[in-house]
């Protein structure tokens, strides 16, 4: 009888990449559902465009690189990237935004660096940043929550807006962004940033219909839904709890100190937690096993750095939300973090 000698780690997890990816995709469903409930069909349409483009471009690159197409095309990683990108796009962005974005994510960020497991950056976030710096107008055409919109927006009109810029009745994207009272609405984070620059206090700037009674109409529930999906992932042991907890804790510490120092110019922790892409970033983006840090200590540093950067960029930066930028910056730092947090081998000093 021959003994098969394997190298460490000896405790193998038998699940495959595709099973893990499928689980993560299922975990995004509550968040996508909340997005659909509060903002309509826009993101779902973008997600489907993005998935189609991602699969087509993955197919082409895999055949160029002479890889095994059947096993790698449907391992779920391309689909997950496309879904994450589609979730983060503004609902009323034109169709070519998601086509260009997922093409960039798959072809350049993922495959040119060597495919799954070799990408330095998180593909979805790199594509989002590429789109944001290339097309600032389209990427900030945020749609107000359905309950606040002056015009009705059903499925066919959303399709028509995304593909032709106009609804079937001829209303443009700019008109759709209007509130009943006739002013353009932005996201809660954007609104807060603009009002604070105008010299208002936080309490005054939160008195707009976009923010509503709590922390932002729709946005709070979307973030709560992503939180629920993330908790499911932790319960299923798909991601480690360390990264999201450290990230949220750092964000809490930073915003709490800022809030204590100057409550008039800093929003509360709950506002930061439940707005923008905080929960999506904490549970679905930062936990990416490829572009993040590896060891436990490394993950703590990685997530803490991300939380700190999110706060700094949201507070002092030019863009209202910061998750994508801080994830990319942390991705760059990840190899260095891994270098310094290498776990000690037993018996070595």
């Amino acid at each position: 009888m021959a003994y098969w000698i394997a190298s460490s780690p000896h405790d193998h997890q038998q699940s495959k990449t595709s099973a893990l990816m499928r689980l993560v995709i299922y975990a995004t469903i509550p968040g996508i559902f909340a997005q659909w409930y509060f903002f309509g069909w826009g993101n779902l349409i973008h997600i489907s465009i993005a998935i189609t483009t991602a699969l087509v471009s993955e197919f082409f690159i895999l055949s160029l690189r002479e890889k095994n197409i059947r096993s790698q095309l449907f391992d779920g990683s391309a689909i997950l990237t496309a879904i994450l990108l589609g979730i983060s796009l503004p609902a009323l962005a034109p169709w070519w935004i998601s086509v260009l974005g997922s093409l960039f994510a798959i072809a350049i960020v993922k495959q040119l660096y060597g495919g799954l497991g070799h990408n330095v950056f998180n593909p979805a976030m790199a594509a989002y940043v590429m789109l944001l710096i290339s097309f600032p107008v389209q990427m900030t055409s945020w749609q107000p929550p359905l309950s606040l919109m002056a015009l009705e927006l059903d499925f066919y009109n959303t399709v028509s807006v995304i593909f032709t810029h106009y609804t079937q009745q001829g209303y443009s994207v700019e008109q759709l962004q209007m509130h009943v009272d006739g002013f353009t609405m932005a996201t809660p984070l954007d609104t807060l940033k603009t009002s604070i620059t105008l010299g208002k206090t936080v309490e005054e700037s939160l008195q707009t219909p976009v923010i509503g009674e709590h922390f932002g109409v729709g946005w709070q529930w979307i973030n709560a839904a992503f939180l629920a999906g993330g908790l499911l992932l932790i319960a299923k042991r798909a991601i480690s709890w360390i990264t999201p907890v450290t990230f949220l804790f750092t964000l809490f510490v930073c915003t709490f100190i800022a809030f204590l120092l100057s409550p008039d110019t800093n929003a509360s922790t709950m506002f930061h937690w439940l707005n923008g892409a905080t929960m999506l970033g904490a549970f679905f983006i930062l936990t990416d096993p490829v572009s993040g840090a590896t060891s436990t200590k490394g993950r703590i540093i990685f997530a803490a750095l991300a939380g700190f950067l999110v706060f700094v960029i949201r507070k002092f930066g030019g863009y209202p939300d910061a998750v994508a930028f801080s994830v990319l910056l942390c991705n760059m730092a990840a190899p260095l973090i891994d270098q310094y947090t290498r776990p000690r081998t037993y018996g070595h000093k």
Partner: protein, 234 residues
């Protein structure tokens, strides 16, 4: 026509095999910074070509009198003198282009491609070959600049030769070609990251062509050395 082998080799080296932009990767800073349009690329490419030729010729002329220990400062002085000439000329005759090239025109002094050629070739070779080498290296650099500028201008603005009148005078404004009309610029292609990505693709394309050429070459058969056993006993 009988061109000496030496010049053929210099041409091949400068334009393709040892191209300063694609293979030596020297002078990347201006290469990436000013190639947002074809005209900018052309302006900087011509300036670099001129400086490279003149500095190579001068370095080669004075090679006997340059002490080895302080050759680099002397090369830099020569290059800086020619760059100043170019800068003043452009300031006088193509002022708008001079403004759009900005700091990258005086920065030609620090372009490693130029000092590299002065050190590696011009300081050891006669003046004719040295200036020819400068010309070919400059052309190689110019072509890379033009290719990069064209790619970025088409992707970013959908045009070609936009603003050619800045360099060539009023008649050249007709050269502007609108490939496709964009409602909004693709900013990534115009911003520096786009330059890095486009440059990567250009280098990859060159490598692909090189491998294809290498595959087509007939393979040289290894010569088998037959060992003959000599049996002295018999």
């Amino acid at each position: 026509m009988n061109i000496p082998q030496e010049y053929k080799e210099l041409t091949w080296q400068g334009l393709w095999k040892n191209n300063p932009g694609l293979v030596q990767l020297l002078g990347l800073c201006p290469l990436l910074a000013v190639t947002s349009t074809v005209v900018n690329a052309l302006g900087l490419g011509l300036a670099t070509l001129f400086v490279l030729m003149c500095s190579n010729a001068t370095v080669s002329l004075i090679q006997k009198w340059v002490p080895k220990e302080i050759r680099i400062p002397i090369f830099v002085l020569i290059i800086a003198a020619f760059v100043t000439c170019v800068q003043l000329l452009m300031n006088a005759f193509a002022f708008s282009l001079y403004e759009s090239l900005g700091i990258f025109l005086p920065l030609i002094v620090t372009n490693c491609a130029i000092i590299g050629r002065a050190e590696a070739y011009a300081s050891k070779n006669p003046v004719k070959q040295a200036s020819f080498d400068g010309f070919m290296m400059g052309m190689g650099f110019l072509f890379v600049l033009l290719a990069l500028g064209a790619v970025r201008e088409v992707l970013g603005q959908g045009t070609l030769f936009d603003g050619a009148d800045l360099l060539l005078g009023q008649w050249a404004s007709n050269l502007r070609i609108e490939i496709f009309a964009l409602d909004n610029q693709f900013l990534l292609a115009i911003l520096p990251p786009g330059a890095f990505i486009a440059m990567g693709f250009l280098i990859a394309a060159k490598n692909v062509i090189d491998t294809k050429i290498a595959e087509k070459q007939p393979k040289v058969q290894d010569e088998h050395i037959e060992r003959v056993r000599v049996n002295f006993d018999s």
